[in-house]
């Protein structure tokens, strides 16, 4: 009886060992062949530079779920927040460019170096595509006496350094836009940074600040509810989510720079992998799920492929490298 059990155990362990070895051989062979022939063959990680819940996270998660359908492998979002995204950018550019690790690239990839937060930028990245843009909007309380953008500029000119504009944080894209407004209209405001656009908007609702510069999608719900009034979109064209609000270009001004969402990989991606990824991103961009997200969150759905995205990002990087030091110096000189 004991002997029999011993035999059984031996036989069993041998069978398990052989099966395991066979499995290993098949797996390694399979992996090898699929890796050279077809990408992707294993899950892809997508690094998001914010905490879960924000716009970047929503864009990444919707894109990831659509990419899964296109690529046939899981695409897993991983949040690595910190330092306006620099923690995530630094992490991604140091990984192997094998196409199994991608990053969500917001406007901050063109800003963090100029802001002095970290030595990382688009030159360290293999840019894949841009998928959406968010326009800056200037909003005031609905009980405010300012009915038009030009009326606000007039008031600001008569009382320089008096009116207060809230923003989502010093050095944020909306703060930069408020500084661009000052520069273009030759006005002076007091800038009050809050911890995110939601806090700034709450302060405007309580009339602790006179105006707020924030994303069109962030302001739109309050404009539609009638508690805020949007005066202008800092862009050449109107925002689809606020069709009645004039663009500053119509009013005779030319300033403003949008926030955007794109995707990138560590530098040195093999060409076949890049084209496979860009194709999948294009399909995911066209999906109803992503288009609906853009409508709901007040973003403009815009697709730029790797080459156009590179040209766009290089232009943005140059712009921020000259604009950020100039605007910040000006702001300090005024104070």
């Amino acid at each position: 009886m004991t002997l029999l059990r011993q035999c059984d155990a031996d036989a069993l362990s041998r069978v398990v060992l052989i099966l395991w070895l066979a499995g290993q051989i098949v797996l390694s062979f399979g992996c090898h062949s699929t890796q050279s022939r077809s990408y992707p063959s294993k899950p892809i990680r997508l690094i998001v530079q914010t905490v879960p819940g924000g716009l970047s996270d929503a864009v990444s998660r919707v894109m990831a779920s659509q990419l899964e359908l296109q690529l046939g492998v899981p695409v897993v979002c991983e949040n690595r927040p910190g330092a306006a995204g620099a923690v995530a950018f630094l992490y991604v550019v140091r990984q192997r460019p094998d196409g199994y690790l991608l990053g969500h690239g917001p406007v901050e990839i063109a800003m963090v170096q100029a802001l002095g937060l970290a030595q990382v930028g688009p030159k360290d990245m293999d840019l894949l595509c841009l998928v959406s843009m968010s326009d800056p909007v200037l909003a005031v309380h609905s009980a405010s006496s300012w009915k038009t953008f030009n009326a606000l500029v007039e008031s600001a000119r008569t009382r320089p350094g008096y009116y207060i504009i809230g923003n989502s944080g010093t050095g944020s894209i909306w703060h930069i836009n408020a500084l661009l407004l000052e520069e273009a209209t030759r006005t002076q405001f007091v800038h009050c940074p809050f911890g995110g656009s939601a806090a700034a908007i709450t302060a405007l609702l309580g009339r602790h600040v006179d105006a707020v510069v924030a994303g069109a999608g962030e302001v739109a719900p309050y404009v539609q509810a009638g508690s805020l009034r949007a005066l202008a979109v800092f862009s050449a064209q109107r925002s689809p989510v606020l069709p009645d609000v004039p663009a500053v270009r119509e009013l005779g001004w030319d300033f403003g720079t949008p926030a955007w969402s794109g995707f990138y990989a560590p530098k040195g991606l093999p060409d076949p992998v890049r084209s496979r990824l860009v194709g999948a991103f294009k399909k995911a961009f066209e999906s109803e799920a992503f288009q609906r997200l853009c409508r709901e969150r007040g973003m403009r759905a815009v697709f730029l492929g790797p080459d156009e995205f590179r040209v766009f990002v290089d232009g943005q990087t140059q712009f921020f490298e000259s604009a950020i030091p100039r605007l910040i110096t000006r702001a300090w000189a005024v104070q």
């Binding site: 924000g54 970290a118 010093t170 007091v190 939601a198 602790h208």
Partner: protein
């Protein structure tokens, strides 16, 4: 209002919600009953799991943990003299004394009933008073938040046990740590040593996990403390229960009111509420000398206050968007993940969700009480797992908990450093609560004071001329000096378990 209430009620009738709520309560009770695992930790660890759940189901689970953990924390406090969560520190004074007299069953039942009373009263407050507070909340600007922050800080500094000066020292250390990171107004890096990971400051959750989880284990190992049980159980008979109904109800009401108030104060949590309630109940009691010797009143006041904090903290969180205590700080993060920004606008944009939370809290309180009555004895046995296994689990959970928050190894190192610091501070008998409080409230006080100064164009006088700011600052002064005086008076009456 009624249509939203109906909508919320209909949602709750779904089996999945009740299922996730019960699962949350069970997990919460486990976390609460195991010393070193806190309600905050339980919520923080479970938040990532709820990413894949719809908002209401995820919330059901997280609120279940919150409501389950606090009453369960009283179980090891009563049976082993080891508080399961910080909120159950005050429950050890009379609870352990009762169980040493062989009245463990009675003590556990008082814990269940007082906890249920506290939670339900807190929820009632949330349901009835949150709306007026929400409409007032929009009028609160940076200056008022600054005042609130100072008030929160003063309460904690006052209630550092016997070691008031060490508490002030720890609080200052926390405030100093809070200066690390980008300057909130100029975005200039402070004390970051060129590390991008430090630009957002010292993350308080890894620090808290290190201080209370790893630090506690290191201290226990060095002291050679072994959790022990084997208390003789004598079941509470009907006459014994009847005799203490009156005193328990009175103390529960007093404790609950204090708990709701302290809970509504940002970042002053169940531990302080229970201590203050225990003290107030002692002062009002006809037989003071019973307190600390196994008073049913003292135990009821402590348990009710620790649990009423939930309703108070949720009110602050949902109306003002700021945490009323540590677990609700983690809950804010969880709500953000589900696309809900806690704050005044929640009552306008997510009214059904507000009612869902109210009803979930009430349901969780009832489920917790039923589970507590049925299963307090088996759960109590869990707290008697051999110490090395328990320590091992706490260390592993500390590491995974610190990493999981931001997928950051930096946070794990931060947790280890905080664990070592917690061990050293424990050895020096420095209270740890004020340190975490300084770390949490420091940025709130600093950024809001400076924002208020931007808005007043650098004029200090207009800040202090605001009536609400004055109220908070006066209350802060009272809170700072009141408990100090009270603690001095009561020092002689307390058992040694108090020093923490």
């Amino acid at each position: 209002m009624s249509s939203e209430l109906t909508a919320a009620l209909t949602q709750l009738l779904e089996a999945r919600i009740v299922g996730f709520l019960t699962a949350g309560v069970g997990l919460g009770m486990l976390f609460g009953a195991l010393p070193g695992l806190t309600a905050t930790m339980g919520i923080a660890l479970l938040v990532p799991l709820t990413f894949w759940l719809p908002t209401d189901q995820g919330l059901a689970m997280l609120l279940g943990i919150y409501c389950g953990a606090i009453p369960a924390g009283g179980i090891p406090a009563i049976l082993l003299n080891v508080p399961g969560t910080p909120a159950s520190i005050a429950a050890t004074w009379d609870g352990y004394a009762l169980s040493q007299k062989g009245r463990a069953d009675l003590a556990l039942k008082i814990n269940v009933f007082a906890s249920l009373f506290g939670q339900l009263l807190g929820v009632l407050f949330l349901a009835l008073a949150a709306f007026p507070i929400a409409s007032l909340a929009l009028r609160m600007g940076p200056a008022e938040y600054f005042g609130l922050g100072v008030f929160g800080l003063s309460l904690m500094a006052g209630v550092s046990g016997k070691r008031v000066w060490e508490g002030v020292l720890a609080g200052t250390l926390g405030l100093a740590l809070a200066t690390v990171g980008l300057d909130p107004l100029t975005a200039y890096p402070r004390f970051t040593f060129g590390l991008p990971e430090l630009l957002d400051g010292v993350a308080f959750i890894p620090v808290m996990i290190g201080l209370f989880g790893l630090g506690e284990v290191l201290a226990a190992i060095s002291a050679g403390v072994t959790p022990f049980g084997a208390t003789t159980h004598r079941s509470a008979d009907a006459p014994a229960l009847q005799r203490c109904v009156g005193p328990v109800l009175g103390s529960s009401l007093l404790g609950s009111l204090i708990g709701v108030f302290v809970g509504a104060v940002p970042a002053a949590g169940g531990d302080i509420a229970a201590i203050i309630a225990w003290d107030q109940s002692r002062r009002l009691s006809p037989n003071r000398e019973e307190f600390g010797q196994g008073s049913t009143r003292g135990l009821a006041a402590a348990c009710a206050a620790a649990n009423a904090v939930i309703g108070g903290a949720m009110t602050t969180m949902m109306t003002l968007g700021i945490p009323g205590d540590a677990p609700s700080a983690v809950l804010i993060g969880a709500l953000l993940i589900h696309g809900v920004q806690p704050g005044p606008l929640m009552f306008r944009d997510h009214r059904t969700l507000v009612w869902t939370i109210v009803l979930l809290l009430a349901l969780a309180a009832l489920v917790t009480a039923s589970v507590g009555l049925l299963g307090s004895a088996p759960l109590a046995r869990l707290a008697r797992v051999p110490a090395p296994y328990l320590w091992m689990a706490v260390v592993l959970l500390s590491i995974t908990g610190a990493y999981a928050l931001n997928n950051s190894l930096t946070d794990v190192w931060l947790m280890f450093i905080a664990g070592l610091a917690g061990f050293v501070l424990r050895k020096l008998e420095v209270p740890l609560g004020p340190l975490v409080l300084g770390l949490i409230l420091g940025p709130m006080i600093e950024s809001n004071l400076r924002r208020a100064l931007v808005l007043s164009r650098g004029d200090w006088s207009t800040i202090f001329a605001r009536p609400l700011v004055l109220v908070f600052l006066v209350a802060a002064a009272a809170a700072l000096f009141g408990p100090v005086a009270a603690l001095r008076r009561t020092q002689h009456n307390r058992p040694a378990a108090l020093s923490r």
